[in-house]
Symmetry: D2
Subunit: 354 residues, 4 copies
Amino acid sequence: MNAMTTVSTIKALVYHGPGKKAWEEHAKPVVINPTDAVVRITKTTICGTDLHILKGDLPSCTPGRILGHEGVGVIDSVGSAVTAFKVGDRVLISCVSACGKCEYCRKGMFSHCTTGGWILGNTIDGCQAEFVRTPHADTSLYPIPEGADEEALVMLSDILPTGFECGVLNGKVQPGATLAIVGAGPVGLAALLTAQFYSPGEIIMIDLDDNRLETSKRFGATQTINSGDGKAVEALMKLTDNRGVDTAIEAVGIPATFELCEQIIAAGGVIANIGVHGVPVALHLERLWDRNISITTRLVDTVSTPMLLNVLKAKRIEPKRLITHRFKLTDILQAYETFGDAAKTKALKVILEA
Amino acid sequence: MNAMTTVSTIKALVYHGPGKKAWEEHAKPVVINPTDAVVRITKTTICGTDLHILKGDLPSCTPGRILGHEGVGVIDSVGSAVTAFKVGDRVLISCVSACGKCEYCRKGMFSHCTTGGWILGNTIDGCQAEFVRTPHADTSLYPIPEGADEEALVMLSDILPTGFECGVLNGKVQPGATLAIVGAGPVGLAALLTAQFYSPGEIIMIDLDDNRLETSKRFGATQTINSGDGKAVEALMKLTDNRGVDTAIEAVGIPATFELCEQIIAAGGVIANIGVHGVPVALHLERLWDRNISITTRLVDTVSTPMLLNVLKAKRIEPKRLITHRFKLTDILQAYETFGDAAKTKALKVILEA
Amino acid sequence: MNAMTTVSTIKALVYHGPGKKAWEEHAKPVVINPTDAVVRITKTTICGTDLHILKGDLPSCTPGRILGHEGVGVIDSVGSAVTAFKVGDRVLISCVSACGKCEYCRKGMFSHCTTGGWILGNTIDGCQAEFVRTPHADTSLYPIPEGADEEALVMLSDILPTGFECGVLNGKVQPGATLAIVGAGPVGLAALLTAQFYSPGEIIMIDLDDNRLETSKRFGATQTINSGDGKAVEALMKLTDNRGVDTAIEAVGIPATFELCEQIIAAGGVIANIGVHGVPVALHLERLWDRNISITTRLVDTVSTPMLLNVLKAKRIEPKRLITHRFKLTDILQAYETFGDAAKTKALKVILEA
Amino acid sequence: MNAMTTVSTIKALVYHGPGKKAWEEHAKPVVINPTDAVVRITKTTICGTDLHILKGDLPSCTPGRILGHEGVGVIDSVGSAVTAFKVGDRVLISCVSACGKCEYCRKGMFSHCTTGGWILGNTIDGCQAEFVRTPHADTSLYPIPEGADEEALVMLSDILPTGFECGVLNGKVQPGATLAIVGAGPVGLAALLTAQFYSPGEIIMIDLDDNRLETSKRFGATQTINSGDGKAVEALMKLTDNRGVDTAIEAVGIPATFELCEQIIAAGGVIANIGVHGVPVALHLERLWDRNISITTRLVDTVSTPMLLNVLKAKRIEPKRLITHRFKLTDILQAYETFGDAAKTKALKVILEA
């Protein structure tokens, strides 16, 4: 092992149980397994899931954990079995760690890697820190292409592959087809941006927040519906000549929005769930059993990252449109406040720069 | 129009409201649209759906309707636009009528044909009669291959394509993969027979009835579970090293069996629903949102009928194994009794011969 | 049958053997089969295939035939079995006639319809006339959407579905992937326009004509190569870091261009042939047997027409960019001259207005 | 590194240039890279490709090379980065080495792994030896399931995945469909065995050798054609009502057999090439351009090995039927003679036991 830096403590955002977090000193992460790398973070961000953890919703994430699963940085040290990266390389960190060997990785289901999956900032220390240990480095990091915009790349750690894989790919978005996205938060907007790779005919964005609907229009939505009046189904049916939509992407994670998708899906359509759900939903099979529909769920596999890097390189997407605020990494507590109060601050994604 | 027979009345099984049916005289069906054919029934059968209608579960089927949507027969007369069949041709009747022209038919979603779909014995008079009018004849009837066994073919009207399309094709059954079928009634057994086209590694049949499980074994199930003790999930998990199954086919149509499928599906798997559901089920997205699963629903399209005819011709399936009883068509009331009391009579499919 | 017009003769462009054609009087087409419609042409165009016929290359097209297989118009009369259209409807004519019933039509392979396929202006009289008889009208004509631009629609008769189905769909163009199109004539440009539905990363256009390469740039090509110096392979390999392309679309139809595709295809890639070939090509299996490639051929099925209509409606494509010249239908001989001398006139598609 | 044995020399079958080979002493292979394993061979076999090498057909294989790329054995030592295997484990060796990390491995195209692919017994020393070094052990070896028959497993190193992936999967064999396999040698027979996973309707085997055609019948062919009279096309067309076949698998590797496939392929069909070709073939695009066919090539990826292991475990295939002769490993020269004179010895696969 060959390390670039010799510091022994770092600053990091540490979870201390429901409602509690601190920006504090922490031992610097080191290579544990020969396939690990340690990365010096240059840019990271905050995910809606981090707010869930802070509410105490994810028992898998225990007090003492450094949060964060997104970011770019510079390789600081590598284990003896790492062959694709060397100290000094600039890398994109995938939110999902993949061994590349197990039954699931061989199928491209990295999310279920038996020794990986979403572990960063969850069951092992994460990226909201000056340094992070990334397991299975060869298959979980990506070299940053020459001249790439690192802010844009931070969007490729999680939010763009999540919107793309769970929403767009699972939803089988097709040229000319009709798509509704329920939820215009960051991940719904990521689905909106990546859905346009396939030239759908109509993209109808549904949300309660007029500001986010306005943003959706700028991002490519052809129609928007504010569902606050409880009449979203009627409005959508009117827009689609009572056919409903070929694809409905659920990007909220509560029963009301999922059941809305059940009501607006056309015969033969797909409901692609992205939302993180905490309770069961009612599946109206008494109406849907003969409608030839599919429902999909997915934890992002980040298997599309190479494709997204190519699309980004070709300038066919502008991920930076998702970034609304920028902070110094040392101001991360303030960034959390801004991000956590999105209704007021209109925050989508915030960039934290080390 | 050129007709073969000149009778003006026929005998037919007529629905007279919940709990009431009669084998009675009825006007002989005639060609109404130029694309119609009238078929003299030689063999027909009874479907579980017919029992549902008789319970009053399907408001679309109104009193006075001749029941039945399965059968084989001989063309008696054809409309002026019918080009594929002529009087005297022996034909298989598909349970789904397809115009071949509408948006849905062009996608192979015949079940949603805007002027067809499942209408026989539902919204128009059906096949449990001496004669039946079949709309869209060119695209809803199939010529009976030389030397074919007509009893076997009756199984291709509905039950085999239903088990195959809704269960096996939607469930993406693969060589070597693990499959559970919940419900060993006729349609579950049809799924069992057709699943073997794809050489799955394990086929685990789950039911409450030991007789049907025994039949499943003879039909190719590699394992059976009697779910009567409420421990089917544990039993299945033990059989699959706690992985669950790649495909779970729901062939009952009640919440308990659907939720069983939710519990036994492996990460990355497919739940393929065949069951006709009357009430919503609880979809446990709080456990499934990150399991990368799919759930499919489907009313049979009978788009696989040409493939099934080829498989039958090649003797790679023996549909007659589903037939347990045979009656004269005139004894149809007795056939209904036998079929309706399957727990005692062990009936699967009954053949009615004209 | 109910006819709109009562004229008995029309003017039409008639093929009289190699090198000979005339704009002359002809008996007005009438409904022959109950599924026919007669359409009064309002706009038509000339296809490269028409030039092939005039050279005597297509023995299937015999002297006396009215040429043309593209156009839009107004229904003038319909046969008794036509249900989707009535006299006075404005329609798009597909270059492929499809019965919707035969084995091939049921698979979406309309090009091989046993009583249809490409017959218009080939084995039956075609669209370069004041009126045309269209067989299988219900499944071969498309209603013109309200407010649609009819010039744009003429491009949907043949050239756009040909470029899209034979090139883009068969070529499995993917977001971020690398695509080469060999041949920047009208059909290659149609592939270029429709390839962009899938957001490829690089689109490299290869041709001998700098004007057409210039046009390609305006139409969305990211790179162009003039192959006149015999070094197209080297140039392309340089542009792709020696990987070659994921998809190579052959849009010329001669051995040299097909073999160029063999040389530039990446491991795992697809060569999608559109070109009409007159002689065999050398397939270098000694180099390609272990390269995991696919080669596809296809006569357009026009099965994508509904999708293309949706994309057009959503304004995600501008087919009119293919139109370079406009003529009165009565000036069709002049239009042929202009179209036939494309190197000088820079003609792509010409519109003939009745 | 922890080694099981301490010997320093082994016996191996070494290639010494065209026509020359010897069973001789050789330095024992050792772990070079941390991802390597050394395997003590317990069973191996000879492949047709080995004969090609001995003829001098493969310049990539240079004199001094130990031949062989198939076998099972016991882990003798492992590199420091190997996590899936330990000394003493019984393993199946895949003929293709896959790093699991590179662009190609991530797509499942292991054959094109940038540091692997088919290298064993080609560019690095192989399996016809007492010990072999296997690179990328974690992703190129498979644990042998408890109680598995090791002779059967040797067939999973190369021949079964080759027939299955290059022939059956690429050829999209479907239930009820019509399949021809041209060439009834070991790989053609492997395609025949694995094609039956998908229940095709007709399997027509074409070869010059009546003995092999007889074997084909026993292995499941429904029809056989001896092409020695030059009338195979006519014979096949007769068997298929002049339609041709949905899938044609080329398992010979010469122009005559490939062009036979071009003549017998139905519209819409797939020609799946397995044969190793040394010279170009004539692709008759003048007849095929409008036939909607696909042609595929592939070097086996062995990505289907887990599926094949499952099918084997479920006893849905009997790979041992391919084994005709058994020898001691020390008698390998005699085994080569028997295998090389298959026309006389009727050899298919030979097992060499250490």
